[in-house]
């Protein structure tokens, strides 16, 4: 039969296993609850399942000439060169937000064409460089 020492060891092992399972479940559940999905304008156009009342992020380039400011809000178009979406935002736009530059907006989708943003993050890269360019630059530097 099991002696005291083995019983103790088993108890410790079971406690630790149970604790680990609980912790891991807790961590991953919190992760899922706090994950912000990111979509491009094309993703939004094609994806039927995006809930309208859920906080998401969309990103792309700010379309040239699309930025309009009214008294309380700023409106602009985000494009990925295939599809577009109109974004409305009330608040301070960050530095580096400009037409022709990359942008990520966080908020809720009103419908497939319209997005209400709560936060705007601009890409920290004031010279946008297409990936093909980076390749050829690297080639030429050698």
């Amino acid at each position: 039969m099991l002696n005291i020492k083995t019983k103790n060891r088993l108890l410790i092992f079971l406690t630790i296993s149970l604790l680990s399972i609980v912790l891991i479940t807790f961590v991953f559940k919190t992760l899922e609850d706090n994950v912000l999905y990111f979509y491009s304008p094309s993703d939004i156009d094609q994806n039927e399942k995006i809930k309208l009342n859920k906080n998401i992020r969309i990103g792309g380039m700010v379309k040239n000439g699309s930025v309009k400011t009214e008294k309380n809000e700023i409106k602009f178009i985000v494009t990925d060169y295939k599809k577009e979406i109109i974004v409305s935002y009330k608040g301070t736009v960050p530095a580096l937000f400009a037409e022709g530059k990359g942008v990520v907006a966080e908020g809720k989708l009103q419908d497939k064409k319209f997005f209400l943003a709560k936060r705007i993050l601009a890409k920290h890269d004031e010279t946008y460089m297409p990936p093909e360019m980076k390749e050829s630059l690297k080639e030429n530097v050698k």
């Binding site: 792309g60 380039m61 040239n64 990925d80 060169y81 295939k82 037409e99 022709g100 530059k101 010279t127 946008y128 460089m129 297409p130 990936p131 093909e132 360019m133 980076k134 390749e135 050829s136 630059l137 080639e139 030429n140």
Partner: protein, 172 residues
Amino acid sequence: MKKKNLIITCIFFIFFFITMFLSLDKNKIYSTRDYVGQQLADVDLEYFNKNSIFNTKKISNYNFTLINFWASWCGPCRKEHKNLMALSENKNLKIIGINFRDKQNNAKEFLKEMGNPFFILTKDTDGKKSVNFGVYGIPETILVNQDLQILKKYIGPLSLKDVREINKIVKK
């Protein structure tokens, strides 16, 4: 026990490294290559040396046109410049330069030092006009035909291979 630990550790790291390796390949930035095949945008550009306007519609006057976006402060533009000079010898091709977000004097110095391949020289001081051509960074070169159709878009400095390709296309 020791061996089991070893196997678990190895599997974990192998999985981790494979994922990191795959993620390096993923392209996250938008490509402007989609512009090829489309019509050139109708844009008013300011001439470099005078106050008047050059409209891109006038490009239909020429058989083939190369539109090159450059600046004096751009290193790779220096590298490709000799290729542009070579291309300027081609009688079938007209090269239009768009000086991008540059200072007038610096641009002049650059051309004096490296040579001027441009049939027509315009400027885009704040970079906003270039966006209409899908250009956000330089150097970039667009090959257009008489119908204002974008034939080729070269992102990054022109290589000798690109020069050969351009010469071949404009022969027709």
